[in-house]
Symmetry: C2
Subunit: 281 residues, 2 copies
């Protein structure tokens, strides 16, 4: 008998991606969501939240490098970083590759995600043991409101706008984040796929220009997310994402996806996708 896991969120739209499971490693119900851990035939270990793929060994580097290094390489000297969500630790791992970093606050609402990752994804999770990492298990919006002007970079490594992450796609949360940023700070947020979620992206760019004078949208390829790509907003009071030239001397060694050339290319969208994103110029 073969066991296959099929991603749930897309099913009602008549689309499915499925993976053959060679071993079921864990399945727990946290106060916030259902967490499953599988060994898969082709992608190594995988964990899902409420039936939606979050991390696989094979391609997590694409997501984690691109959510982290685009803003980190765009900021001249990122010292204080807030990661909202991201309890697997992969984003924290990438942030810590920048020697300028003095503190990383991980604000994850669900401690069970962190515990699962320590157990099954040490290559992501072990970075969270670094002494520069402050663990905070709380609502990200509330934490941002209580820490005005503290951060150089804020990364929102969230799940989709259904369930616990829904508020992370609404205007009040973006205003809370703006208040937690230093004047030259940068925010990057997980912002879905231009192939499948033009409506979500358009709704973000309805309010983003009201809050941030500088903004953009970039993307990366990742086969275990439904359309094979995932995008991110880039938000700032001071730094225009389209004018950044990454400083090669600060490039972390050993990256698998990010390069200064990929940095520039990631902001270039197909013609049809430009309609979802407001641009200043």
């Amino acid at each position: 008998m073969e066991i296959w896991y099929t991603e749930k969120l897309e099913l009602e739209k008549g689309r499915a991606v499925s993976y053959r499971v060679t071993k079921t490693l864990d399945s727990i119900q946290s106060p916030f969501q259902k967490i499953d851990v599988f060994e898969t035939q082709s992608f190594g270990r995988m964990f899902t939240l409420d039936g939606v793929t979050m991390v696989t060994n094979k391609d997590e580097h694409s997501y984690h490098e691109m959510i982290a290094h685009i803003p980190m390489m765009s900021h001249p000297n990122p010292e204080s970083v807030l990661v909202i969500g991201g309890g697997d630790g992969g984003t924290v791992r990438e942030v810590l590759k920048h020697p300028s970093v003095k503190e990383v606050v991980l604000c994850e609402i669900d401690k069970a995600v962190v515990d699962i990752s320590y157990q099954y994804f040490p290559e992501c999770a072990d970075a969270m043991k670094d002494k520069r990492v402050i663990h905070h298990y709380d609502d990200g919006a509330k934490f941002a409101r209580e820490n005005k002007g503290r951060f150089d970079v804020i990364l929102v490594d969230s799940s989709d706008p259904v369930g616990p992450a829904e508020v992370l796609f609404k205007e009040p949360f973006y205003r809370d984040m703006a208040s937690a940023l230093k004047p030259t700070g940068i925010i990057a947020t997980q912002a879905e796929s231009f192939w499948y979620h033009g409506d979500v992206i358009s709704s973000l760019f309805e309010f983003i220009p009201k809050i941030f004078p500088e903004y953009g949208y970039y993307y990366t390829t990742i086969p275990t997310y439904p359309s094979g790509i995932i995008g991110f907003t880039f938000l700032s009071n001071a730094i225009d994402p389209y004018s950044v030239t990454p400083d090669i001397s600060r490039l972390p060694k050993g990256l698998k996806y990010y390069s200064p050339e990929i940095h520039k290319a990631a902001f270039v969208l197909p013609e049809f996708a430009k309609a979802y994103i407001k641009r200043k110029r």
Copy 2:
């Protein structure tokens, strides 16, 4: 009862992409392959060859624009074009958007694909009725050998290297194509995904540098191909793909995916993918 179509080729690797079928429109066995046509819930009409998705209404523009306009915009004056495979007509449609074109030879081994496309995909197929299009139902390698020095651009719009298209991924075919090219000509060939088919890409770049002094690899995003991306080789005796600056005055109007900026960005690969592709510099 819901009917779902699941792509076959990936199943043995423990991966599957599936689409909800709202109507089965046709299913025929040609001398070369099985052809199925579906109406799907989210991607409009779709046709498959031997259980592998070829074309859907929703995203075919990405593939067809990118296989065609990258070489067409890289050539200073493309007049004579050969399309091998591509019986749906989408690639011919894009080629004909360039007013310099005087002839397009469509060399498709399976006439049944052309007939199916005329019936169900007129937005792709109707371009094949243009008087500049010469229909030729034959083996592409044989046709290339018999037409030395005839073409400015050759596009290989093939299925995967299994079944009838297997020979299109081998060195003899590339030598035949080289012989059919004018001295300043350019070839682009469908060349799989850097996420899933690094072995196929590497095997192409074992022999490509022996035949072509200039070469490169570029890609596009497309959700109904298994990993969400598909790549292409770019081959030439004279034109370095990495030095091309597309002439904006020659840009066809109304494109949905291609732009001169996407042209440059499409050649920028993730760090891990560079290992599959030999580059001169």
